[in-house]
Amino acid sequence: MTKAFYQPFAKAAVALAIVSSLVGCSSLGVQPWGKDQLARADMALNSEKLDLALDDHIYFSKEGTSGGRSLAGGGCGCN
């Protein structure tokens, strides 16, 4: 094993150590500017759950495969 082989791992270890130390500081409180975008209602994964449910039902009825986004739920005798 050469030094060149180890070098990236050493850098990664340093980076991980820095990240770990920052975890402590960032947990002191949520900055108002930090959560604004992802906390928007339109960023929730099921923000359009009725549309998604209706689409799932159409594609479940008309195609050979279904589900994936969430549990497929119940069946129906769809034509």
Binding site: L38, D51, L54, G68, L71, C76
Partner: protein
């Protein structure tokens, strides 16, 4: 950005981690802080050109109990009419078919794709889910589901656990569901691969009925579905998150479509008989779903990909995106694009050849054949006072079934055996 030293790496990481780690998880639906009711309702019309027409109403009520509990109740009512492809092929003569009930016949004109216009059904679906924040890291949910239509009953239970890590930047989830379905087709379940009988070939009603009954099995049948899904949601940065799911689904029981048939044709493509299809009674499905979603300055965008495969050898790839743009703080437009590509089940065949041995499993249902499909949709939404929202959606969905490599004999070459299915979806939704 060029990183030239450990110091610049550290600076970059410090900057990245401050924005990364100070996020609150928003992957799961935020639980309303007050004891508020939230109601979402929609009515949808789905119409295929010359085929199925459906109307669907859906209502969802959400009630928060404090900060840790959430009850979700959903009702769906839909009504279906119109015609559906029976699986038989077009012919140079008109064709007469016995209705699935055995009571009466319908005729399909020369050159037309045979559609069974018997369908008329109403379905009611109810579901309830309870979500509980167990502690800072763990959230659990449990639910029940029921769906009833004239010839079909589906009942299920589901549950799941979520664990947050990394200051809520990473969420792992494990969920499962079990569903039991009861299939009780109009006219009874056909005997697998049995031949359709016709009133005209019998001297009287009693003889015909006796012959028809020979093609039917007594009683209903069941199907059990067990699902398990493992998911990871990861916040990437201040604007982007991603989700990855792996799903495993095991189905056993009656999966044949009791209303689908296959034409049995000779070397000239002339139909000699019609036979009721038969599908295997077990199916093991895998799916991988990847999604990324981003908060833009004036909108939201998501991209997703799904790969699905199973032991029926149906494979599919689905690409989908939604892009929302806010014209003003209270009005948005949204584009929806979806592309779907599917490879046929191993037992799919567009018709049977007379003289060949009758296979154990066969279906001419184009929905499990080779196919591509695409959707293009537009949605407009308006936020009203008091947190209410009104939205309209219209979509165009087209399926393009394809030949799975079957050689087409004689007169069948004159007809489009894989006709496109074109549908419009129109929907109005209201939330308050």
């Amino acid at each position: 950005m060029q990183l030239t030293s450990k110091q610049s790496i550290a600076s970059a990481l410090a900057l990245a981690s401050c924005s990364l780690l100070s996020q609150q998880a928003s992957a799961a639906e935020p639980i309303p802080a007050t004891d508020d009711w939230k109601v979402d309702a929609a009515i949808m019309y789905y119409g295929e050109q010359d085929r199925v027409q459906a109307a669907e109403a859906i209502g969802n009520v959400q009630k928060a109990f404090g900060d840790s509990s959430l009850l979700d109740l959903k009702i769906v009512v839909d009504s279906l009419t119109g015609a559906s492809a029976s699986g038989a092929v077009a012919q140079s003569d008109s064709q007469t078919f016995t209705r699935p009930s055995g009571d009466g016949q319908y005729t399909v004109a020369t050159g037309d794709t045979p559609l069974d216009d018997t369908f008329h059904d109403t379905r009611v679906q109810l579901s309830a889910n309870w979500q509980e924040v167990l502690n800072q890291d763990w959230t659990g949910n449990i639910g029940v589901y029921g769906s009833k239509e004239f010839d079909y009953l589906s009942m299920g239970i589901n549950g799941g656990l979520e664990r947050s890590f990394n200051k809520n930047n990473t969420t792992l989830s494990l969920s499962g569901a079990f569903t039991n379905d009861v299939v009780d087709p109009v006219g009874g379940r056909p005997v697998a691969m049995s031949e359709m009988v016709f009133r005209g070939n019998y001297a009287n009603d009693a003889d015909y009925q006796a012959a028809f009954d020979q093609t039917r099995l007594a009683d209903d049948d069941t199907k059990q579905t067990s699902d398990i899904m493992f998911g990871v949601t990861q916040i990437i940065n201040r604007n982007w998150l991603m989700q990855a799911n792996y799903g495993l689904s095991s189905v056993s029981g009656y999966m044949t479509d009791p209303y689908k048939i296959l034409s049995e044709v000779d070397v000239n493509g002339q139909t000699q008989a019609y036979r009721y299809e038969n599908r295997p009674d077990s199916r093991l499905k895998h799916s991988v779903f990847l999604l990324t979603k981003g908060a833009l300055d004036s909108g939201v965008v998501d991209f997703s990909y799904r790969y699905s495969t199973d032991d029926w050898e149906i494979q599919s790839h689905t690409l989908e995106t939604h892009y929302r743009y806010y014209f003003s703080p209270s009005m948005y437009g949204q584009l929806h694009l979806r592309y779907y590509q599917q490879q046929a089940a191993e037992f799919y065949q567009p018709f049977l050849m007379s003289g060949d041995a009758i296979p154990e499993y066969a279906s001419a249902d184009y929905r499990i054949g080779d196919m591509t499909a695409y959707t293009i949709g537009l949605k407009f939404g308006q936020r009203l006072s008091g947190g209410h929202e009104l939205s309209y959606r219209i979509e165009y969905y087209q399926q393009n079934p394809e030949n799975n490599g079957t050689e087409i004999p004689g007169q069948l070459q004159n007809y489009d055996l894989f006709p496109a299915v074109k549908a419009i979806v129109a929907q109005v939704s209201y939330s308050f």
